[in-house]
């Protein structure tokens, strides 16, 4: 934690720069796994605005569609914390089940689907009533969570079972199990709902699953000169709103791959920080932010040029990131 004087100074500078630039300022919220905090970063100035103390081992992080609340998996406290984005106070908790790691919010913002790593379950939570609506048994070590744009299909990946489980969000039943490569970490739907992209950390690939046939239609592989293949470990995946480009965080390869979604070809490898895991776009889609766990920083990548623009030091072992519209 920075001392109070530095803190005030940074906030002041950030405030001034914001007012001067007039550009759309967004706030990025970064969960720091190792020091139980969330760093709030102004995406225009890159200034650290605030560091919030949170529960133990914060990992998955997302935001309500109106931008009012941050939802945060405090894994070792077996809970999901709700943080008010105005006051930065923890205003509530959701019953997550044990060891929540990652989750996804339904498109209508009402339901949260949580992966419980220790119990091989996906927990479905009604946000308003804070009730658990269902617990769905899935494979061993559930982690990645994706939801179709129409909200009808949820995909969970299980890291030791090595499957993407397709779940009908009405019946809460698994409809399809698609085998992918080793340690699937993340599932991301294309904005048109036609494909699900699933990363495999140890397998070193991204499987593109056709959402109609529920079959793997393509496997994306990565090659970086001078790096042994074991160091290429895909984790976070994000696809642009126009569906044209995908970004894949490659873990200890310290790079984010930029993939053309039409050809599945890697167009570029963007060098960021060490052990890059998760990614988030700013709401205007002009910037994508990566969390670099080992180097304790985040990197801003310009989506137009795919150049790294700036790195900002955050807390210890940054894990996840989400950007609020204000």
């Amino acid at each position: 934690m920075p001392n109070r004087t530095t803190f005030a100074a940074i906030t002041l500078v950030a405030g001034m720069t914001c007012a001067a630039s007039g550009a759309d300022a967004f706030m990025a919220y970064v969960s720091n796994e190792k020091d139980n905090s969330v760093t709030v970063v102004d995406t225009v100035t890159g200034a650290v605005v605030k560091t919030l103390p949170v529960g133990q081992r914060p990992r998955g992080i997302t935001i309500s569609h109106d931008g009012k609340f941050i939802y945060l998996c405090a894994s070792d406290d077996d809970t999901i914390e709700v943080i008010d984005t105005e006051t930065h106070e923890i205003v509530g908790q959701l019953p997550s089940g044990p060891d929540p790691e990652l989750f996804v919010l339904s498109p209508d913002g009402k339901t949260l689907y949580v992966a419980n790593e220790d119990d091989n379950l996906v927990t479905v939570i009604d946000i308003e009533s804070r009730d658990v609506l269902a617990e769905i048994p899935v494979g061993v070590e559930p982690e990645g969570m994706g939801i179709s744009p129409d909200g009808k299909t949820m995909v969970n990946t299980s890291e030791t079972t090595n499957m993407a489980h397709f779940i009908d969000t009405d019946s809460h039943e698994i409809t399809d199990n698609v085998l992918v490569d080793s340690r699937p970490r993340f599932a991301e739907f294309k904005p048109d709902g036609s494909e699900v992209w699933v990363s495999a950390e140890i397998g070193g690939t991204v499987s593109v699953i056709d959402n109609d046939s529920r079959e793997v239609k393509h496997k994306i592989t990565f090659e970086i000169a001078g790096l042994r293949s074991e160091a290429i470990q895909p984790v976070g995946v994000r696809i642009t709103a126009d569906g044209k480009k995908a970004y894949v965080a490659l873990g200890p390869a310290n790079r984010v791959a930029v993939v053309d979604t039409a050809t599945y070809k890697v167009e570029k490898y963007v060098l960021v920080g060490q052990r890059v895991w998760q990614l988030a776009f700013t709401p205007d889609q002009k910037t994508i932010i990566s969390t670099n766990g080992v180097s304790n920083d985040i990197t801003f990548i310009d989506v137009a040029t795919d150049e790294p623009v700036q790195s900002v030091t955050v807390g210890s072992m940054p894990w996840g990131v989400v950007v609020s519209p204000k």
Partner: protein, 403 residues
């Protein structure tokens, strides 16, 4: 031979095709296809110098059981069920009759926690039955070299892999001068050999050696500590100047008594002090927390190296059953032997088999009693094919002719 290969290739290609298809849900009401795993262990209660090091009764078996449960969670989606059948023999007893009983009860793959000679006799008996053996206990290099067998997968690392993992770290630390004290039993001498080989290989120097003969002292006496405090400094007195004192005492005769009792203040490594191992009960890296939590919840104790080797063996079988959608042992074994086979085991990278002797490539953990100090291979130890092949006897040096 060519015919077999073509057959295998076409099978393999068709299984690849199947791998891309959506996994079929098992039809309701169809009983799951069963895969029975045998587990054969040589076991007798054994004392240790520290009561903290006494083996839990279910060491290894518990790891296999957790993996069986993991496989069954996955198997639910594919209509596959896995079970474990455990048999025990005495140390150095004839293990073949117990093996035949396991086979008679339907085991088609057998995990073996046996001595080298027991393992060889079981492997040779298994060949006629088409049974695959997974060695999770024996670290003997000879089982992967002159005495290698085509139907044995080695999940446990070898003594040379362990010694190399340790040596790389000591060289990385720039502590290259070592004194070596070793016990008088076979395992102690073999591990001392592995340490000598590692010194030659990575530029360490063994400046002096000394044998600690086992004179049959009782391991527990009420006031034994007083004597040890006086004996160990005297035993290590007069060694030439060294950076690290290496200990080779697999037999638990003196090793635990070396740290903090040496004549010169020097770090200790080997079977005491900084210990190279296949797994560490405190490893939380690379998703390790998840398997540690799962294991602790299931067993009420921490996960040891043999538990991890057994877990990995059962997961390898499960992974092959998943990917081939088969519980047929010959299909499973063919898949494991294919070049693309790999398994994830919380060690930061995929583990693969050395095709020349079916040894599982794996990083080696270096830990003291409390925590993981490092993981080898160390940075800078390069290899043209896989950095994991800087650990242990590599293909150009192998004496293995698989048969």
């Amino acid at each position: 031979m060519l015919y077999v290969f073509v057959l295998f290739l076409s099978f393999w290609l068709s299984s690849l095709g199947a791998g891309d298809a959506a996994a079929q849900q098992p039809a309701k009401g169809t009983p799951p296809a069963e895969l029975k795993l045998g587990y054969l262990r040589a076991h007798e209660p054994r004392l240790a110098l520290s009561v903290l090091d006494v083996s839990p009764r279910d060491e290894g078996v518990a790891g296999a059981e957790v993996a069986i449960s993991d496989n069954n969670t996955t198997g639910r989606f594919l209509g596959q069920a896995f079970s474990l059948d455990v048999a025990e023999v005495k140390l150095e007893a004839d293990a073949v009759p117990a093996f035949r009983e396991l086979a008679g009860r339907g085991a088609t793959t057998v995990l073996a926690d046996l001595s080298a000679s027991q393992l060889l006799s079981v492997a040779d008996a298994a060949r006629a039955e088409g049974i695959e053996i997974f060695n999770i206990g024996a670290t003997d290099d000879r089982l992967r070299e002159e005495d290698c067998r085509a139907n044995v997968f080695h999940i446990a690392p070898t003594r040379s892999m362990l010694a190399d993992g340790l040596a790389q770290y000591l060289i990385w630390k720039q502590w290259p001068r070592w004194a070596l004290i070793y016990g008088s039993h076979e395992g102690d001498r073999l591990f001392a050999d592995a340490l000598r080989r590692a010194a030659t290989r990575f530029g360490g120097e063994i400046v002096a050696e000394k044998e600690f003969a086992d004179t049959g002292t009782a391991r527990r006496t009420d006031s034994g500590v007083v004597q040890i405090q006086r004996q160990m400094p005297v035993f290590t007195q007069g060694l030439p100047d060294h950076d690290v004192l290496l200990v080779a005492d697999e037999s638990e005769v003196f090793g635990t008594y070396v740290p903090f009792r040496t004549w010169e203040p020097r770090p200790v490594a080997g079977t005491a002090g900084l210990i190279p191992t296949a797994w560490h009960p405190a490893s939380e890296q690379w998703g390790g927390t998840q398997i540690q939590n799962r294991f602790a919840k299931a067993t009420g104790r921490r996960m040891l190296a043999k538990d991890m080797s057994a877990w990995t063996a059962v997961r390898i079988i499960g992974e092959a059953a998943t990917r081939t959608r088969s519980t047929d042992v010959s299909q499973i074994a063919r898949f494991i032997r294919s070049k693309d086979f790999s398994i994830a085991a919380f060690k930061g990278q995929k583990l693969t088999f050395r095709q020349w002797n079916w040894q599982l490539r794996q990083p080696i953990f270096l830990g003291d009693g409390r925590s993981v100090v490092s993981t080898s291979p160390q940075e800078g130890f390069l290899h043209q094919f896989s950095e994991l092949d800087t650990l242990g006897i590599d293909q150009p040096e192998t004496k293995c002719v698989l048969k």
